[in-house]
């Protein structure tokens, strides 16, 4: 399932799968998933939590851009602290950000596994750690690094914390509300990953999301390709099918507006992480 999904994604963004040999850039738990919130903005990569751990090149690459937290050549501050961009195979750039410093400021190329620096406080990251992100230059969009990284042996399913319907600024929490007026509603999912190593809930959307209304598919999406738009990370389907979803600055997943007419409504939500762990939930409502 995972391999088929990966192959499809790679085919869509035009990359031969054999081009990549990524490894985890740090021996640390994932604290924020792709698209999860950080200080009011969505993360275009994953955040690995920790201080003092080695940050290593996930694949071989050529240095494209490097800047420190404070650089006399520009007025622009670096909210991502010490930041390094490496150009890898097939126009895929890897980004290592929120570092306190880098190991070898003069290095022009990095072998796979080469030391980039140590994780720690650097830039505006909610916790100590660093971000690893992948940018596909061909499509001009961010790609979920999980797609290319080996599984970590996680056996915990994601948690569905809350599902709400929103219309004209009013919110109905499923489970609390049993009757709602007919109309168009946005579906808002509050879902979290449970990392195998991270102590708390991992912030950010799971890999796969499916929502059914009375058995009809409302959305089926994978958080694999994304773009920052209007302060949120918008995901795009690799296959061209499916539907665009977005994650807001608080980490909630927004699904485009749906019209519900009078009668019974059964909403079913299924979420699945990259390692195949899944959880589902359903709610019955009466539309008046």
């Amino acid at each position: 399932m995972r391999i088929r999904g990966l192959s499809l994604l790679l085919a869509v963004i035009g990359i031969p799968a054999a081009s990549f040999a990524f490894d985890w850039p740090g021996n640390a738990p994932v604290a924020v998933e792709f698209g999860g919130p950080n200080a009011g903005s969505p993360m275009p990569g994953i955040v690995l939590a920790g201080t003092g751990i080695d940050v290593r090149a996930a694949e071989a690459g050529e240095l494209v851009f490097e800047r420190g937290a404070d650089d006399a050549h520009t007025k622009l501050p670096s909210a991502t602290g010490e930041t390094l961009v490496l150009e890898g195979a097939d126009e895929m750039s890897s980004v290592y950000a929120y570092l306190p410093g880098i190991a070898d400021p003069g290095a022009r190329s990095f072998a796979a596994g080469a030391l980039i620096g140590k994780a720690g406080p650097g830039g505006f990251l909610d916790q100590d750690g660093f971000m690893f992100a992948l940018f596909d230059r061909k499509s001009g969009r961010w790609v979920n690094p999980r797609v290319f990284l080996p599984n970590q042996g996680d056996s915990k399913a994601p948690v569905i914390r809350k599902v709400s319907l929103e219309s004209k600024g009013k919110l109905w929490i499923l489970g609390d509300s049993k009757i709602i007026p007919q109309g168009s509603y946005s579906i808002i999912l509050d879902v979290a990953e449970q990392g195998s190593a991270f102590a708390g809930l991992v912030i950010g959307p799971p890999w796969y999301i499916r929502v059914l209304a009375n058995g009809q598919k409302v959305v089926e999406a994978k958080t694999e390709i994304a773009e920052v738009k209007g302060g949120a990370l918008s995901f795009y389907p690799a296959s061209g099918k499916g539907q665009e979803i977005s994650v807001d600055s608080k980490g909630s997943i927004h699904i485009a507006s749906q019209a519900f007419s009078r009668g019974k409504l059964l909403i079913e939500v299924l979420v699945r992480d990259f390692e195949g762990n899944e959880r589902s939930a359903a709610w019955s409502l009466l539309i008046e």
């Binding site: 903005s41 969505p42 494209v64 750039s93 022009r108 940018f135």
Partner: protein, 361 residues
């Protein structure tokens, strides 16, 4: 005897003609331009806000030398000095400092009075009188008005790597090699990808004070500097030059205050592009150039370089070096006001400001 008389008359006549010529047609010797030391002022490690403000006169000028920042006047008065915490952005219009994970952003005027506090999340910065916040993921920029309200906010496709603004436009360069100009309403008035290099990326950008010219340093292998000129309401590339530079970090570039020249970092020194003639000259300084200042009325450029043997270079726009002299400092800055040049130097715990005036003698 007659021969002697003839010689005497000839000598006397020649002398008289010479004296008359000297008196009537004398040309003044050309004046030499020199840098005249005016004052040196020690910068305290910290001076409370208002501690020196009473003694200073006239408009305040900002300085930042490494960790130290503050304001001074033209007559050696230090209005205020402080050592930065995590971040500092300062201009003559005000300053803002912040910690690594700021809850609120406090923008202050040069005398330390709070202008406003903003809860916008990100790192703030000043560009002359404009105030911006870059989002925590380095992909969005918002501009704040003088009360802290958001004027506009915009996200970009990848990391923001370059920034410039004048009073009307904001220019943004991104990691994926795109260049954007944003107006006061947050609308994109230019979207352009220079291309032509193996790897696209924008390393630096600049906009002229009148907004007619936008410049960028772009790409890797090969790198180039290009200038876009506004014609018929659209920007078009009017000049570009492939360079030998191999910058993979932010690159300094700016137009001179009169907008007639673009000064940019390039391999082996500074480049000066003349907008009118569309020609560029290279001034040989040593990489990296720490700071530079342009004196448009004298067509002079000053640069501080620091490749281990720091020196100050004074050169003309057309590339002729006038003189250079070494300086000894751990950190340095350079700025000017008219013909007055201010050097800031820090060595160990001692920091000083020097004023030198260009005078013709």
């Amino acid at each position: 005897m007659e021969e002697k008389t003839r010689v005497r008359i000839t000598v006397a006549g020649t002398s008289i003609i010479g004296i008359v010529y000297f008196l009537l047609f004398a040309l003044p010797l050309p004046k030499q331009l020199s840098l005249k030391p005016m004052w040196v002022s020690a910068i305290p490690q910290a001076m409370e806000l208002g501690g020196g403000a009473a003694a200073v006169k006239g408009p305040l000028l900002s300085f930042r030398i490494g960790e130290r920042y503050g304001y001074f006047d033209r007559n050696a008065g230090i209005a205020f000095a402080a050592t930065r915490g995590y971040g500092i952005s300062i201009s003559d219009a005000g300053y803002v400092s912040w910690n690594m994970r700021p809850d609120t952003l406090q923008f202050k005027d040069p005398r330390g009075n709070l202008l406003f506090a903003s809860s916008e999340q990100g790192y703030p910065f000043m560009d002359e009188e404009r105030r911006f916040v870059v989002s925590s993921n380095q992909e969005g920029i918002s501009e704040l008005d003088n009360k802290g309200s958001i004027l506009w906010k915009r996200d970009f496709p990848s990391l923001i790597t370059a920034f410039a603004s004048n009073k009307d436009l904001t220019v943004i360069g991104t990691m994926d090699g795109q260049l954007f100009a944003i107006d006061h309403h947050g609308q994109v008035s230019l979207s352009f990808a220079p291309g032509g290099s193996r790897i696209p990326c924008i390393y630096g950008c600049a906009i002229s004070p009148d907004g007619k010219n936008i410049a960028a340093t772009s790409g890797l292998d090969k790198q180039r500097v290009l200038v876009l000129e506004k014609r018929d309401e659209a920007y078009r590339v009017t000049w570009h030059r492939w360079t030998d530079s191999d910058f993979r970090r932010p690159v300094a570039m700016s137009f001179t205050p009169d907008g007639r020249e673009l000064v940019f970092e390039t391999s082996g020194g500074l480049g000066v592009y003349d907008v009118a003639s569309r020609k560029a000259n290279i001034l040989f300084a040593r990489d990296p150039v720490v700071s530079s200042a342009a004196l448009p009325n004298r067509k002079l450029l000053l640069a501080l370089d620091n490749d281990g043997k720091p020196s100050i270079l004074v050169a003309s726009y057309d590339g002729r070096g006038y003189f250079s002299f070494p300086y000894s400092a751990d950190e340095a800055m350079l700025r000017n006001e008219g013909d007055s040049v201010f050097f800031g130097l820090r060595k160990n715990d001692t920091a000083s400001l020097l004023r030198l005036d260009f005078v013709e003698e």
